[in-house]
């Protein structure tokens, strides 16, 4: 089992999503199909985690653009407000957009500098403590293997959490207590080399 419904998963750091940017990632694996995600901020700073797919023609939202308080699809410039409701269709400027046209919005929690989501997540995201969000490190190995390696590794001061991307890739995210992101990055790069070499 890689992605478990009910769990929260960190899928970005807060600093990954500056105003006006659409961050792109994915979550899933095993019996859960991999879901492409587009993450952006409304002008009030509220983080939006959406399926990376316009409900109109299926083009990735992450190719689009944040305009004011809305995300605009690159293909036909349909606009979607926070929460996911379509607000404007340029080809039908006088039409009231039917309420059924909606981007698929995922649950969102922001804690410890990380952005969390999941399928029907329960309660609050895990508490990682204090520290600076490290650079996320992708590892081309299944989540269970990365989990085992992390449990055996000596990584003092790091509080880590894993984001599964399908059955063969996992992203290591987390916090470093003393703020030394460069040292944390070197340690995780070494772990990545070790894990990917035995493959």
């Amino acid at each position: 089992m890689t992605m478990v419904p009910g769990n929260w998963y960190a899928v970005a750091a807060e600093h990954d999503v500056p105003a006006g940017h659409i961050y792109r990632t994915a979550l899933g694996g095993n019996d859960q199909a991999i879901r492409e995600l587009a993450i952006w901020r409304a002008s009030d700073g509220a983080v939006q985690v959406w399926e990376d797919r316009c409900p109109h023609r299926g083009v990735r939202f992450s190719l689009g653009e944040v305009v004011g308080d809305e995300l605009r699809c690159q293909y036909h410039a349909w606009r979607f407000a926070k929460g996911g409701a379509c607000t404007f269709i340029p080809a039908q400027p006088d039409m009231k957009v039917p309420g059924s046209i909606h981007a698929k919005a995922w649950p969102v929690a922001v804690s410890a500098g990380l952005i969390w989501t999941g399928v029907d997540p329960v309660g609050e995201p895990p508490v990682l403590g204090e520290g600076a969000a490290i650079r996320a490190v992708p590892v081309a190995r299944p989540l269970a293997e990365v989990e085992t390696a992390l449990a055996q590794a000596d990584l003092p001061g790091l509080a880590l959490t894993l984001q599964p991307l399908g059955d063969t890739e996992t992203i290591v995210r987390g916090l470093v207590a003393n703020g030394d992101c460069a040292a944390a990055d070197r340690a995780l790069a070494a772990l990545r080399r070790q894990l990917e070499c035995v493959a």
Binding site: H15, D16, P18, H21, Y23, R24, T25, R135, A182
Partner: protein
């Protein structure tokens, strides 16, 4: 200035992009590289025996190397784009050339039937993209937005951008390379940006 150009050739796009940022008019001489192979004609090989694009003719001078063209235009028209006192410029232009030979080559193999070792090109590109991502992430944390330290983009950004921005054409991905995607946004939103196929301009802010 005459630019011997092909729309999809990344190094030629680099020159059009810098000209856009600098507001320089270029007379484009379009070449049918595929399937026409204009770049193998006697006439073109007389101009550039290596047969590579782009070629810039500026007055009496013929430039046949894309990075040399970027340097020439920047030195003549926008010295902020060519920080000659920073040795990192040489390193980054080298990485940009390596990216063209890997990510750029993979794109040409996938989209224009150029022969080559696709697996090796992609493997080398993955290593380079990982490293540029790592450096850009730490540069952002240090308050920088461009490949070289400083507040102004340089020809190194342009030289790397033309291989990185369209890299998905070559079967590579910018997903989960967030610092590179943010940097691509900064290039796209820089005044004077010109697009090419697959590299979108910012939409009009309406």
């Amino acid at each position: 200035m005459i630019l011997y150009d092909a729309h999809h050739v990344a190094p030629a796009y680099a020159v059009r992009l810098l000209a856009g940022f600098l507001g320089l008019p270029l007379e484009l001489q379009g070449m049918d590289v595929y399937p026409g192979h204009d770049d193998r004609s006697d006439e073109f090989l007389a101009l550039n025996p290596l047969g590579t694009l782009p070629v810039l003719v500026d007055g009496d001078t013929v430039f046949t190397d894309w990075q040399e063209i970027l340097a020439h235009l920047a030195l003549a028209h926008g010295p902020d784009w060519y920080p000659a006192t920073d040795p990192a410029l040489v390193g980054w232009l080298g990485i940009a050339r390596d990216l063209a030979a890997s990510a750029g080559a993979a794109r040409l193999m996938q989209t224009f039937c150029v022969p080559g070792d696709l697996a090796e090109a992609k493997a080398q590109a993955e290593r380079l993209l990982d490293e540029v991502e790592r450096r850009m992430w730490f540069a952002e944390r240090a308050g920088h937005g461009w490949l070289l330290a400083g507040t102004h983009p340089t020809i190194a950004d342009i030289a790397a951008f033309v291989s990185i921005a369209p890299c998905e054409d070559g079967g590579l991905s910018l997903r989960d390379r967030p610092a590179l995607r943010r940097w691509c946004d900064r290039v796209r939103f820089h005044p004077g940006f010109v697009p090419m196929s697959g590299v979108f301009p910012p939409m009009a802010n309406t």
